[in-house]
Symmetry: C2
Subunit: 394 residues, 2 copies
């Protein structure tokens, strides 16, 4: 068995995204103990920088030592108790996953269903809250990774608050790419992932909880069914802001947290608003190029998530063969459709370090060439001029 | 906020252990997608090498994408259903954690308690099995990280099998340092951690399940309460041995798995039996040095785990101040006592890449100097000659 040397890839799928060499360098710095005083100092900086990207003052803001799906489960398992009614908005794979987990927590999910590719319908959400007075929470996906649609989380948070329900928001794909305004929205619990617009290695899930959520966790009747995800215990290690001594809970993923720290330093250097604008600009260029090429985007323009673009596969084209050629000839990864959209769309990510003119140019050029070669009736040389008009603006 | 540059440390606590530069180099290789064909090939190699270190042919052998505590919870949450009686052997912190999780799974723990520092008592374990016919499982810690004691897992597995209970074994600290013989023991489920004797970065938990355990998981009545840890779903991504197509479950921690792969390659290069022998030899040297210095080991000689040594803190010595000086002056981390042993012992780890003559020599020399300076009545220069006699043998 030999050492593994991965090929060079450009990552433009639904995550992981490209990782800056600075982050990879931080990742490989020598490991220190998870209770080392220098490491504990770094943990405080990570928490502070996560508050910056989440746009919040929430004290309970920290990275969970596992992937985004575990962040989702951490939010639900801590806030939901057996018997709780939870309004779950489902408009893609990840809303469906929330519903599944609510059930496994002993909650009763009330599903608000919308067509995949549409945002959560505000009227239907409010109707569900009205029909279920006393609902413990409402949860939804701010940016659905399976479709690339963005819902109106500001309005949904207001609805949940109005009806006395906690708001639980999936910001896995949105955090860092589009505004996730935890305090302005009044969101009670929000989780994300490290490997999307934060451009860190996969395996970490940043979460943040507001005061109402913390009260709810502290005032539970039943213990949290997961020991690993029990925030009453996790808080003992990650601590409050007062510098209380840290107690061992589990061994933190030390090196992955070095990497998260560095990716957050880079986001601060750019400025989060400038980062949002960059994602928007790269999306404008990609979309212009795709449209010039004759390809359609699956989501209506006003609801698109700039960092994740579902592109309709043209009639008669073998979508898997196209992805395979992009990977083999260009080292370029784009994503397949997921769930109900398998075989129907490609998902092109412009997340974090993948949202650059270099990547947009490569993706459009390579896709055009491969599609032309596949007999999809596409003329090479139409996408880049259209994209370029957007790239050279601003 | 600036980049974080950790200090140089020698890690001789209860984990993480020192990490070889080859593993850190692997860790920082460019990220590829978690469904990239080259990555999927690497996953198969990781599974094969985990079977090698676990000494098993178990098909269901894979790394869980979270720390060892999540590996513990994964085993319990998949094998235990509400109402199940589970014999839990508790002789330290981690047995206590198993009991806690069994309760959160809706199981009824029947505790077999032994003094911290003693191994699990076989007679008491069998009595508990006899008194609870139909017990679903018996679980225990093979090498208790909180005390450094080793229990007789071979005999305990035989007892469990004799009484029709599944055996669930914590091998977090033992795997790679002392024989963990899954097939020879007939263990049904075993979990470990990446950051101990495997000398990989923290954050990954290798697990293995035998046929009886897999049947149990497939034949459950209640769904697994954790979605993230549900092996019925995790198996879809990690796959069987037949090369069936992988389906997305969560985004794997790609870079941490590069590191695990490399650490396993290194274990194969050394040969696992030679690795066990090295841990034993370094322990002999460390123990000889500590005894020459006049320090006592907490666990009786015949039950000691060579890779984790609990050293009794001498009367009148400020144990935290000693650890702090070792850290500040020598960059050397040793562990504090945990739970009931806090303040009473130090825990000195000789795990994986930390089990070397360099580390043993540094640890004895530094500890002798700091203790002499602290007025503990210790003469500098007595430990190393004793240790050296062991190091130069064989």
């Amino acid at each position: 068995m030999k050492s593994f040397n991965p090929p060079r890839r450009t990552l433009m799928g639904p995550g992981p995204s490209d990782i800056h060499p600075r982050v990879l360098a931080a990742l490989s710095r020598p490991t220190v103990g998870h209770l080392d005083p220098t490491f504990v100092g770094m943990m405080d900086e990570v928490k502070e920088m996560l508050r910056y990207v989440f746009r919040t003052e929430n004290d309970l803001t920290l990275p969970i030592s596992a992937p985004g799906s575990a962040g989702m489960e951490t939010c639900l398992v801590n806030l939901i108790e057996p018997g709780d009614v939870v309004v779950v908005c489902v408009n893609g794979v990840f809303g469906g996953r929330m519903k599944e987990i609510v059930g496994r927590c002993g909650g009763t999910p009330v599903v608000v269903e919308d067509r995949w590719g549409d945002p959560v319908d505000l009227q239907k959400a409010e109707d569900a809250l009205k029909a279920n007075p006393g609902a413990r929470a409402m949860c939804w996906v701010d940016g659905e990774t399976s479709t690339g649609v963005r819902s109106d989380s500001s309005a949904l948070c207001a609805l949940a608050a109005k009806h006395g329900a906690l708001s639980i928001v999936d910001a896995v794909t949105s955090l860092g790419g589009t505004p996730v305004l935890v305090d302005e929205w009044g969101a009670d619990a929000v989780y994300s992932g490290s490997q999307k617009c934060l451009s860190c290695v996969p395996g970490i899930s940043p979460v943040t909880f507001g005061e109402r959520a913390v009260e709810r966790i502290r005032g539970r009747n039943a213990p949290v069914q997961s020991w690993f995800m029990d925030l009453n215990l996790v808080m003992g290690y990650w601590g409050g802001s007062g510098g209380a001594p840290r107690t061992y809970h589990h061994t933190a993923p030390v090196n992955a947290l070095y990497a998260l720290h560095e990716s957050l330093v880079m986001i601060r250097e750019e400025g989060i608003q400038d980062g949002w604008a960059r994602h928007r600009r790269m999306y404008n260029a990609l979309a212009a190029g795709l449209e010039a090429m004759g390809l359609g985007l699956f989501v209506a323009e006003e609801h698109r998530l700039p960092q994740l673009n579902s592109v309709t596969v043209p009639e008669g084209v073998d979508e898997a063969a196209v992805r395979r050629r992009l990977l083999d000839d260009y080292g370029l990864e784009i994503g397949a459709g997921l769930g109900a959209l398998a075989g129907k769309v490609w998902r092109i990510g412009l997340m974090g370090q993948s949202a650059t003119p270099v990547n947009v140019t490569l993706c459009l050029g390579a896709l055009e060439s491969v599609l032309a070669d596949a007999g999809a009736g596409i003329t090479v040389g139409t996408a880049l001029p259209a994209a370029n008009r957007e790239l050279t603006q601003g």
